[in-house]
């Protein structure tokens, strides 16, 4: 079935966007470190932060530092105007929306919060979908609100691949459940199977 979808689309995925909220740090720990160094995707993440975390940028650095130490891929904060590279994991900076421009570079915005969130997953996903079209994979993980559902739908409409963490394996199941309600999800995966699934997928594409 998986093979069929890829064959049907006849494309190569370029980027993976991930939206994650409450319980996200733990979830990401089961995914990001398992991607190989030369993983052929750009991985772009919006992780909602709590109020307390928003106040000091040092906490932000913590997230990035942690994954820099534990991941094989390059890990960094997305910078406004920066060209997006493959085999790199980017985190959206706190307190700004992260968007993707058509020429595959980042831009930031201070628009008011969307779904009570800044950065917002929908904002990232919708702009990423406009840029990467069917070469995009969207993934929604654990979280306590419904940010990301609209964006995931948009990815589906542009024939991208849509993935959601199985709510039963999520720390907080509101966000994955909300994403599933739009009936545009291709695969619902238990947390521990997400990384192997994506690695296999990229392997198959190559072969």
């Amino acid at each position: 079935m998986l093979l069929m979808k890829i064959a049907a689309l006849n494309n190569t995925y370029k980027a993976l966007v991930i939206g994650v909220s409450a319980g996200g740090f733990q979830a990401l720990k089961h995914i990001l470190p398992r991607f190989p160094k030369n993983f052929p995707l750009s991985v772009i993440i919006v992780q909602h932060r709590g109020e307390a975390v928003q106040e000091t940028s040092s906490k932000d650095d913590f997230l990035i530092h942690h994954f820099q130490q534990h991941c094989q891929m390059t890990v960094k904060e997305a910078i406004s105007g920066e060209k997006i590279c493959k085999s790199t994991i980017y985190f959206a900076p706190a307190k700004y929306h992260l968007l993707i421009e058509k020429e595959e570079s980042f831009s930031l915005s201070l628009e008011p919060p969307v779904n009570f969130s800044i950065p917002s997953i929908d904002v990232l996903f919708e702009s990423a979908s406009a840029c990467y079209k069917n070469c995009l994979i969207g993934l929604i993980l654990t979280g306590a609100n419904s940010d990301g559902s609209m964006g995931l739908r948009e990815i589906h409409l542009n024939n991208g691949l849509t993935l959601v963490q199985n709510p039963a394996t999520a720390d907080v199941d509101v966000m994955p459940k909300a994403a599933m309600e739009s009936h545009t999800v291709d695969y619902i995966l238990p947390l521990l199977e997400i990384a192997p699934f994506l690695c296999d997928l990229m392997q198959e594409e190559k072969g």
Partner: protein, 293 residues
């Protein structure tokens, strides 16, 4: 004949008709061209992803079905264009946003400004003015306000009018006060405003040193020699070409060794003007003009 025409269209449907996204992109191009033609504002060098978002939220607000419907309204109705501008520009701001930046400005840069007998400061893209008042408060506490002139500019007349009034919602005051203390504030924030009903009215004394003016960074020139230019969270909305041209404008406007303060996530690293400035406090995005003589 008719049959043939129909079948041609059908063929197009399958293979060549543009996608929904492509149609929107095309409409936005037309809109940008109309605005450029009619008002001389060139939005083609704005970062398109956020502009597209703003335009679609504008459609919702004005209850329009598509981007094309905006075009005749904007061409024929100046007021409509003003409200469009209001909607598309992102004017979110707060007092002493990123307090550490203001603290470094106070501790490191103000001591340098002290040597000038008259201090000109340009606050470009000041939105509703919160940062302008923040700056005036710090200048006052460092004994510099009496010889300072702050030129606060924006191309959004609506937010400029709010800035000039200097009246803010009381509910924002706790946040502003907290930020103020984090910048090393020397008095009490309450000393700088008068509470009235649910609003805080900023003191007249601060306003006396401010000049508010409409200025469009895309097309207007510099207007005075500046010792410090503050332009935060404006360049993030521009593409690299426009960023470079605005940085060029700032460079031209600054005195020898004048200072430039950018937003927390704005970097000169990708700019052609990179070598026109040197970082004084890299983390806080404070730069100094380098002149070639």
């Amino acid at each position: 004949m008719k049959m043939q025409a129909e079948s041609t269209i059908k063929q197009k449907t399958v293979s060549q008709l543009p996608s929904h996204g492509e149609i929107i992109d095309f409409e936005i191009k037309l809109l940008i061209e109309a605005i450029q033609f009619r008002y001389g504002y060139d939005f083609s060098h704005y970062a398109q992803a956020s502009l597209t978002r703003r335009i679609s939220s504008c459609l919702k607000k004005f209850e329009l079905g598509n981007v094309s419907e905006l075009i005749p309204k904007i061409i024929h109705d100046v007021e409509y264009f003003e409200s469009f501008l209001r909607e598309v520009s992102v004017t979110v701001t707060e007092m002493f946003r990123d307090p550490l930046v203001f603290k470094v400005l106070r501790d490191k840069i103000f001591t340098q400004l002290q040597t000038y007998s008259r201090i000109n400061i340009w606050h470009a893209g000041c939105a509703t003015g919160e940062e302008v008042y923040s700056l005036a408060i710090m200048l006052k506490e460092e004994g510099l306000l009496s010889r300072s002139r702050i030129y606060a500019t924006d191309f959004n007349n609506h937010s400029l009018a709010i800035a000039e009034q200097g009246i803010y919602k009381a509910e924002k005051i706790p946040l502003f006060t907290k930020n103020y203390l984090l910048t090393g504030g020397k008095a009490s924030f309450a000393d700088y405003y008068q509470a009235k009903h649910s609003h805080a009215i900023m003191h007249e004394e601060l306003k006396q040193h401010m000049t508010f003016a409409h200025h469009n960074l895309i097309k207007d020139q510099c207007f005075a020699q500046m010792h410090l230019i503050i332009c935060r969270n404006v360049l993030i909305y521009f593409d690299r070409t426009l960023q470079d041209s605005v940085l060029g404008l700032f460079h031209q406007s600054l005195v020898h060794r004048g200072y430039l303060l950018l937003g927390d996530k704005e970097s000169l690293d990708f700019s052609q003007k990179k070598n026109c400035f040197t970082a004084i406090a890299k983390e806080q995005r404070i730069f100094q003009k380098v002149s070639y003589e």
